[in-house]
């Protein structure tokens, strides 16, 4: 009997118990679904660094769609008629409602831009902790990183009028600063980036996508850097610095207006689509051109027909109406420009007005006008008149590309926008997202 019990106990208790105890020390748990952040911060290989570079280029597309449509609605360039009622409500201040700092439109671009900046900071930190690349190569990575960071900060400052600059350590974020301080940082970053690029040798240790064809070496990428430096200088009101920077960029008065690096899109896994593209004549999800953009256009402006088309049936939603819809992009994989020659020429015109080179400004504006099948400028040759003309050309050259709201804001003209419905309001700055205000 005693032996029996022992055997039984061993069979039914001790053996399974023992096997359970043996398996009961758990190994450190690793994420089976993706690499860890810590893994790339120490002794990163060149492959890991290059994956971050691709990640940065990829995530620089974050928020573009929201910036173009939400800021475009606020600037009465367009309406977004889709399933989301706040696109025709909040963004137009319907019935006195304020903008919400906790909604898709206010957090979308902020999150997207800072995600990209985080990737840039990871790359910078990884570079500081690896021996996988030499000094020249490192300069290439840093030149790319700082240029891209400046580009992202410009987007943030345009939408929000403010930015948080010091964000490398998530536990110790710096303060949110005003526009001018932000733009000063942008310009400093671009100059640092330019310095790195000038010491980066003849080629990068990484490859950029086909969107950067023509700008994939340190020397050509630095033209991209200088183009942004020109833009940033103009936004900071520094016309002469802008002209200097633009002279080192790919700006070309007689060149193809479309030249410049582009965001490219794809429909595969992990890729992004161009969300500013809308299917022609589709109902329920459409970018409708604000009627004033059609009505205010100069007769014969070819940009109107290039960028928009009349709808088969006029669209209406939420008490808003429109006859035209977008034709800005051909498909969901059409590229979106970072900064094309056309914009640089307009920036040059603006810089020239700031530097009181009014003739240069007029000449540049005529390049744009002629490209749109319009005759040369015939208005007054004063700074004010030319500024108005410059803003008008920007309105038509850069429609639905996230410029109008910022242009009107920086020139104090937001209140000139039309009100479509009684009770609507005009907003020209996105509210800083709620979690930033804690």
């Amino acid at each position: 009997m005693k032996n029996n019990i022992k055997t039984l106990a061993i069979m039914t208790f001790i053996i399974p118990l023992f096997s359970l105890m043996v398996s009961c020390t758990f190994d450190e748990v690793v994420d089976p679904n993706g690499p860890s952040v810590d893994g790339v911060l120490k002794n990163a290989s060149k492959g890991q660094l290059n994956e971050l570079v691709v990640g940065i280029e990829s995530t620089s597309r974050n928020g573009i769609g929201n910036e173009a449509t939400a800021n475009g609605v606020m600037a009465r360039e367009l309406y977004l008629f889709n399933a989301e009622p706040r696109n025709t409500g909040d963004l137009l201040g319907k019935a006195g409602i304020p903008l919400d700092n906790n909604s898709f439109y206010s957090v979308g671009s902020w999150n997207g831009n800072y995600r990209c900046i985080k990737n840039i900071n990871l790359l910078i930190e990884a570079l500081a902790n690896t021996d996988a690349v030499n000094e020249t190569e490192k300069n290439g990575y840093l030149g790319f990183a700082k240029t891209m960071m400046a580009e992202e900060l410009i987007q943030i400052l345009k939408s929000y009028g403010k930015a948080r600059l010091d964000v490398a350590d998530p536990e110790n974020l710096g303060p949110i600063v005003e526009f001018n301080e932000g733009m000063a940082k942008v310009r400093a970053l671009l100059d640092e980036g330019q310095q790195h690029l000038s010491n980066a040798g003849n080629s990068f240790a990484f490859t950029l996508s086909n969107g950067f064809i023509g700008f994939q070496e340190p020397s050509t990428f630095s033209e991209f850097n200088r183009a942004w430096a020109g833009v940033a200088a103009v936004y900071a009101g520094d016309g002469n610095a802008a002209l200097t920077a633009l002279s080192d960029s790919y700006m070309d008065m007689s060149g193809n207006l479309k030249i410049g690096p582009k965001h490219i899109f794809g429909l595969g896994g992990g890729d992004q689509a161009n969300t500013v593209f809308k299917v022609p004549n589709l109902n329920g999800d459409q970018i409708i051109v604000h009627d004033s953009w059609i009505a205010d256009a100069e007769a014969g402006d070819s940009r109107v027909a290039q960028k928009s088309a009349p709808r088969l049936n006029p669209a209406s939603q939420d008490g808003l109406n429109g006859t035209h819809e977008t034709r800005l992009y051909e498909s969901a994989t059409s590229p979106i420009d970072f900064l094309r020659n056309e914009e640089l020429i307009l920036v040059y015109a603006e810089a020239s007005i700031l530097a009181t080179n009014l003739q240069d400004a007029e000449d540049a504006l005529n390049v744009i006008r002629n490209s749109a099948n319009l005759p040369n400028y015939s208005g007054a040759k004063t700074a004010d008149a030319l500024t108005a003309e410059m803003l008008k050309q920007r309105r038509y050259s850069l429609w639905s590309e996230n410029h109008r709201m910022f242009d009107l804001r920086r020139y104090g003209l937001s209140n000139t926008l039309p009100i479509d419905r009684a009770g609507d309001q005009i907003f020209n700055t996105m509210p800083i997202p709620l979690p930033e205000t804690y």
Binding site: L8, T12, D31, G34, D90, I117, N119, G270, L282, P314
Partner: protein
């Protein structure tokens, strides 16, 4: 059961040894015990001489023989599930005793440890038990959680979708987690049962924000409610403490039907039913003038012309509510089961098939379920039980709920669809585009698919080893294990001809999900029963270990730009594959000691230590103590109030936990692709490598009162449950690169009261009436928040429209919006609370002339709010039915904020009602002969009527599924249905 038998056998043995030594007026009593309703012999009944330890057990034929030491004497007959009865004797005799099924449930046994149980009358917790009769006895039920509605105090059930196949959120005593798991642990016959909600990827076509907006059902739907013998609900930490870190949201213990020895019984049942929309909202009563004025000077005249053309052609408008939701679904369910066995082996074998059509054409749910439960006694030492079930279930849920530009969700699209627009296909089968929304709902109904299929095997096994049996000590080892394997497949198909898909748009969409879930659990427990103080004190000690392993692998393959008419994912240009894997392990030790002094004082002490691979430190143990005390006043000798048969005072304390959800410890990179290269980007959520489990402690006390032999009983319970170290997902300043993190950030508490009154109002031969009333309320409060108040991510749509808002000192379920009510500036302002003031269940059962059975169940939910954002959409579409009224017009002018959409969500509902008729034995025999034992048939209904101020389809609603903090926000939900059934049951 087994334990008791052997125990009594040894007692009997002793009696036979000792009794002849006593010379007294002893004599032998023999007899037969039969079951009241069937008249069949009842084996295993305990027969004891009152006031002594002398007793016997009936054999397989229901016979017993007992030497009674002296006369006059009283014999007490007791058996699980039957009312205890007493027979007074003056001399040795031959008895014939009939046992009736227990109505009071005081004798039923409730599981309190992992391998021990206690009689209900000795229980220190308010453990609710739902019997098979209560669960499915009134009407035909498709899912277990749906069947529990209104039957248990302290349980809040919300249907997250009205689609066939369910979708339910179960909350026991309020929410126990803000972000983690609020669904209770479900254990079926000892197997940890996976109740996951599996997203299908349809959001990539519909534009819904997250997987939890896809309106999937939870997989408790794979369990056939008809297989269930009873459900025990351990509502709070004090009862669930022995389940340690999986017990925070409570535990639902489900026991399926098992065999009974004796003649093999075969039961056949057939239900036939219909499914119709429970409530119609109607069509706005348009006139030509109101059309013109509603759409303004630009569009008005055109819309008026369209309206007039439709009226001229059809004489009426298109009632899209009727066209889409007006289907009468047909429901059938067929069940066949056999049960029987002998004293060594018992079996239950059952199979069922349920087919349920929805109120939207082409939606439905079907389930084929097979079960084999076997109990076998190998020897006096070994016995085992095995429970096996296989289920295959399919559902077609179509498209409801939130979306963006997909043109798929009916609720969303219909909010913009104008009733003078013809959306029916022409004679060539071409569907017109919906000019006012992203999709044509009739096309979606006829041609788009959202289906899933589940194959599920659940196997539980328990081996009992009786190591030692003496007069006072019994030791056994209980080794048990369970396997739950679920293979789920999802399939979403949106044709390339769907309005929102036509080229150069996405060009059609297919998502194929192949998802596997494996769960294994093992327990080894030693149980030692000791009788001390000459049998006055019963001690049960148990020690054990438990191990849980869960693994999942979810693969979702999607394609867009489809070849014309093709429905395979490889017939597409743009293909995307997602994979998500997880693996979790838990390990724990536990021990418990229970003492029962003469059924007067019952005390329990227990402790469990657990660790989990989901915690920051996977090898750190967390401790969960428990203690409870019950005092049965009426069992003390001094008790003299005859009419009060039970007065129990009870108190219980316990702690439980809930580990962080899988992945909370990781800060990872995700693939981010541009051009031809793969890149890595932070994914937005920041992990906490030191995350600890949430832990809850609960103190519960109350009393149970039984009057007139427990014909009237009252149960009152108060609980105070505190959850510490809440794991919250909170929004981070996203300038850090991370939009959210999940970590321990706060505490909350739930306090509540549960009252239950049961009465057997009449109990005579020809008329029986029993009634039960349950009343319960819960209040929650965030007692600590280590971060500033924040809007809960993943639930609701931001402070503009109103959302859940986690704020110290406030209810965890408050609804808050950005408002400027007092003119001092816009700030987060409370507009309501999802939590009801109280809830009530009221059920009645009448039996008339033993043949008629009438039952009904009412639910009353008092108070509580919902955010009805469907109205927001239909107001924009101008089709809300009340927009011709002053109230509607006034609402239209209000700004679109939370205060506009918050609505009272209380209701009073006739949840279930039935009339059944059983043929008399004579009729059965004369019609069917002796082969048939009983025939019962009847009609029943579900959701028969509802009184509610809520303007939507159903105040029970959730746009974000069943997990987390989610219920009470509505966007285009699947409307609830009313069901009627005819049922037939034949026993052979």
């Amino acid at each position: 059961m087994k334990m008791k038998q052997t125990f009594w056998k040894s007692v009997l043995f002793l009696i036979f040894l000792t009794v002849p030594l006593l010379i007294a007026a002893q004599g032998t009593v023999t007899g037969k015990v039969t079951e009241g309703s069937s008249g069949l012999p009842l084996p295993g009944v305990n027969v004891i001489v009152k006031g002594t330890a002398t007793g016997a057990i009936t054999d397989i034929d229901g016979d017993f023989e007992l030497l009674v030491p002296s006369f006059p004497s009283t014999l007490v007959f007791s058996s699980l599930g039957y009312a205890t009865s007493e027979v007074k004797l003056t001399e040795p005799t031959v008895l014939s005793v009939t046992m009736e099924e227990s109505a009071t449930g005081l004798d039923e046994v409730v599981v309190t440890g992992l391998a021990s149980s206690v009689k209900r009358q000795n229980l220190a917790n308010a453990v609710s038990t739902v019997s098979a009769q209560e669960l499915v006895g009134t009407t035909s039920q498709s899912t277990v959680d749906g069947a529990l509605y209104g039957k248990i105090p302290g349980v809040n059930i919300t249907a997250t979708s009205g689609a066939p196949g369910g979708g339910f959120a179960l909350r026991l005593r309020g929410i126990s987690s803000i972000n983690g798991n609020n669904q209770p642990l479900i254990i079926v016959d000892g197997v940890y049962y996976n109740n996951v909600e599996i997203p299908s990827g349809l959001r990539f076509a519909s534009g819904a924000n997250r997987g939890n907006e896809e309106n999937s059902s939870n997989r408790l739907a794979d369990l056939d409610p008809n297989d269930i013998q009873n459900i025990e609900v351990l509502k709070g930490s004090s009862a669930a403490a022995i389940y340690g870190q999986r017990g925070n949201a409570g535990v639902v213990l489900i026991t399926t039907k098992r065999g009974k020895s004796g003649k093999t019984k075969i039961s056949f049942s057939q239900d036939l039913g219909t499914n119709k929309i429970a409530k119609r909202l109607g069509v706005r009563p348009w006139t030509a003038e109101s059309v013109e004025s509603a759409f303004g000077p630009v569009d008005g005249p055109g819309e008026r012309a369209l309206f007039e053309a439709t009226m001229a052609a059809n004489g009426e408008l298109y009632d899209f509510e009727d066209i889409i939701y007006g289907n009468t679904g047909f429901i059938t369910e067929t069940r066949l089961s056999a049960t029987g066995g002998n004293d060594k082996t018992k079996f239950y074998v059952g199979g069922s098939y349920r087919d349920e059509e929805g109120i939207i054409k082409n939606t439905g749910f079907d389930r084929f379920s097979l079960r084999t439960n076997i109990d076998h006694r190998i020897s006096n030492v070994f016995d085992f039980t095995s429970s096996t079930s296989y289920t295959r279930s399919n559902s077609s849920r179509s498209f409801t709920g939130n979306e963006n530009e997909g043109g798929l969700s009916y609720g969303y699209t219909l909010a913009y669809t104008r009733p003078w627009i013809n959306l029916f296909p022409d004679e060539n089968g071409n569907y017109p585009d919906n000019p006012n929304a992203a999709g044509n709902s009739i096309f979606v109904r006829d041609h788009a698919l959202n289906d899933d299929t589940n194959d599920r095997l659940v196997q539980g096994m328990t081996l009992n080893t009786n190591l030692l049996r003496t007069d006072t000590d019994r030791v056994k080892i209980v080794t048990s294990g369970g396997l739950d394997y679920l293979a789920n497949q999802t399939y979403v198909y949106v044709p390339e001809t769907h309005q929102a898909q036509v080229r150069p748009g996405p060009g059609g969409f297919i998502a194929v999900g192949k998802n596997n879930f494996t769960q294994l659990n093992t327990q080894i427990i030693g149980v030692w029963n000791k009788e001390a103080m000459n049998g006055a004190l019963d001690l049960t000690t148990q020690l054990g270990v438990a191990y849980l392993y869960q693994k999942s692998n979810l693969v979702n393959s999607r394609g867009s730009l489809l070849a014309a008419g093709q429905t395979s994912v490889d017939q597409s240009v743009n293909q995307v594959i997602d994979q998500f894997r997880s693996e979790e392990k838990d390990f724990g030790y536990f021990g418990q000691i229970e003492g029962n002094y003469k059924d007067q004082i019952i005390a329990t002490l227990g402790y469990r230590m657990d660790k989990s691979s989901r915690n920051g430190d996977p090898n750190e143990f967390h401790g969960f103590p428990k203690a409870s005390l019950a005092i049965n006043m009426a069992n003390f000798d001094f008790w003299s109030i005859e009419s009060i048969s039970q007065l129990k005072l009870r108190a219980a304390y316990g702690e439980t936990g809930s580990p962080a959800s899988f992945g909370s410890t990781f800060t990872s990179l995700g693939a981010s692709i541009i051009g031809i290269d793969i890149g890595q980007s932070v994914v937005g959520s920041k992990g906490d490598p030191f995350v600890k489990p949430e832990t809850a402690s609960e103190l519960e006390f109350g009393f149970d009162l039984g009057i007139f032999d427990n014909k009237l009983s009252f149960e009152a319970t108060y609980y105070d449950k505190k959850v510490k170290d809440l794991i919250l997902t909170r929004a981070l300043p996203s300038s850090s690169g991370f939009t959210q993190e999940t970590t321990n950030l706060g505490d909350l508490k739930n306090t509540g009261v549960e009252l239950a009154l049961r009465a057997f109002v009449f109990d005579n031969e020809n008329f029986k009436w029993n009634t039960s009333i349950q009343w319960y309320k819960n209040r929650s409060e965030i007692t600590r928040l280590a971060v500033p108040a924040f809007a809960q991510p993943g639930a609701g749509f931001g402070l503009g429209l109103g959302t859940f808002y986690i704020q110290e000192g406030q209810s965890a379920t408050q609804l808050v919006g950005n408002l400027n009510l007092d003119g001092t500036g816009t700030k987060p302002t409370k507009v309501g609370d999802v939590e009801p003031d109280f809830q009530m269940g009221f059920s009645n059962n009448f039996t008339i002339y033993k043949q008629f059975d009438v039952s009904f169940l009412f639910n009353w939910k008092k108070g509580g709010n919902n955010l009805n954002l469907t109205t927001f959409l239909s107001d924009l579409g101008l089709v809300t039915p009340d927009l011709e009224t002053e109230e509607g017009k006034a609402r239209l002018l209000m700004p679109a904020n939370a205060v506009r959409f918050v609505e009272p969500a209380g209701y009073f509902r006739l949840r279930e009602a039935s009339i059944h008729y059983a043929l008399t034995r004579n009729t059965v025999n004369s019609v069917f002969g002796n082969a048939v034992e009983g025939v019962r048939f009847g009609v029943s209904g579900k959701n028969l009527f509802t009184i509610s101020d809520y303007s939507g389809y159903d105040p029970e609603v959730s746009v974000n599924g069943g997990t987390g903090l989610s219920t009470g926000i509505e966007v285009g939900s699947y409307p609830s249905s009313r069901q009627f059934f005819f049922s037939l049951n034949v026993n052979f």
